[in-house]
Amino acid sequence: MSNVKRYGFVIDPARCIDCRACLVACRAQWQVPTGKTRIWVHTNGVQGEYPTLSQQFVPFQCQHCTDAPCITACPTGATYRREDGLVMIDEEACIGCGLCINACPYEARFLNEEKGVAEKCNGCYTRVDRGELPACVATCVGGARLFGDLNDPESEVSKAIQSKPVTRLINDVDTQPNVFYLQPVEANNPSWPHAKEPTPAETFWQKVAVPGTKLAIGAAVLGQAIAFAKQLWGGESEFEE
């Protein structure tokens, strides 16, 4: 057993009845602005032909990816990963540029207009740090949401993963999410990940600004180095100037 924690969620869509108590608990915990939410319950609607009808509800949220594109996109590190794997936003440092929102393949982030910062599920780190479960997990009456240390084989999440076949929401991008779904999970969910293009400003920064300034500073340093070498080689005369 590793001493390093790796927190993750296990979600069982079969146990979700779309009561949305988790959304309410999350909103109450973090004062999520009206009209926005940090977690969702997705559905593809009613499937099949009468009388064999079914409908699946898929709880959804930030996937706390190990290879998180939001962390890569953030220019300052205001979005970062804790040692225990939770992907966080430093609200004091975030300037709300929105590059992380654009980069998230799960579209699990939004801009809090009032605060001017990006916002998303933070795994209820304040609760977790004092040994409690995230609000959504604690409140789920059906037990559709589990949370715990994936590195601990005795944890509830590890046991759930070992006991049943699981999947992760991976499509054309694999960012190594730490949210596992007990199968089956209905396909064609609109929030399944898709690769995102960088913004024009990011492209300019990487393709023009960085090489351009490197070239300018490099040329200046080289030019002055040559002049300095000539100065050392030639020596100075007090009354020439």
Binding site: D90, W205, I217, A220, E236
Partner: protein, 268 residues
Amino acid sequence: MSTIHLSLAERKRLKDKTLTKHHVANILTHWFNAISWGFLLATGLAILARRVYQPVPAAWSDLLRNLFGGLAPLIKWHETWGMLWAFVLIFNVSLGFRKYFLPFGARRMMLNKDDLVWLQQYGRKLVGLKYKLPDQDDYNAGQKMFSYVVVGGVIAIILSGLIMTFSHLIPLSLRWLIQWAMPVHFTAVGLVVAGLVIHIYMGAIFPEERQAFFSMFSGKVNALYAYLHHRKWYDRYLAAERNWEAEQAAGETAGPTDDLDALLEREV
């Protein structure tokens, strides 16, 4: 090597005479600017975290984040000092410390015919060809060119910096402003730093311009340097002195004698 012929005795005489090139407000602004650039560049580089944008090792970021107590306080320091720097510059340029900065534009930025020849001839000098530099005013054509990079860069830096500092006031529909402010800030700083490399070498290390370095402490340059490098300014300086003396002799009121710029601006 200069092509102007002056005897050794004349050179020695001129070296002993000093002329006032910079006033105390100019000197203080320069060093406040220099310290601010050092601080803002150091903290700005540490704020950048994404490797693809980051020209210094990650250890620099870690060091400064630890020193300042984290990313958020580091950003606050950078923003606060940045606004102080912008305020001092804008105050000096727009209102002027005893109006020394107001005549900056015309004589010190506009390129004239001699300046174009100077740039061309200086290029020949740099590659080791024969050259003849035309006379220059108190700022030579190279300094004038650098002033465009600095003035343009500083305007871009201040505007983009204010957008990022007050990002929470920007409506959702204008988020692209913040996204563009970051690379604009980065590029403008990068280009000014490229100019600063030349500025620091030419000002502090290059032997021909070393007088310029000392003048940023004392405000004074010796007359030999002024004669060889800023002949037009040197001639005006002498004319202003003669003019003042003539007015004194004629018993006229010469106006405030400590206001050198006013004297130099007058028709002589």
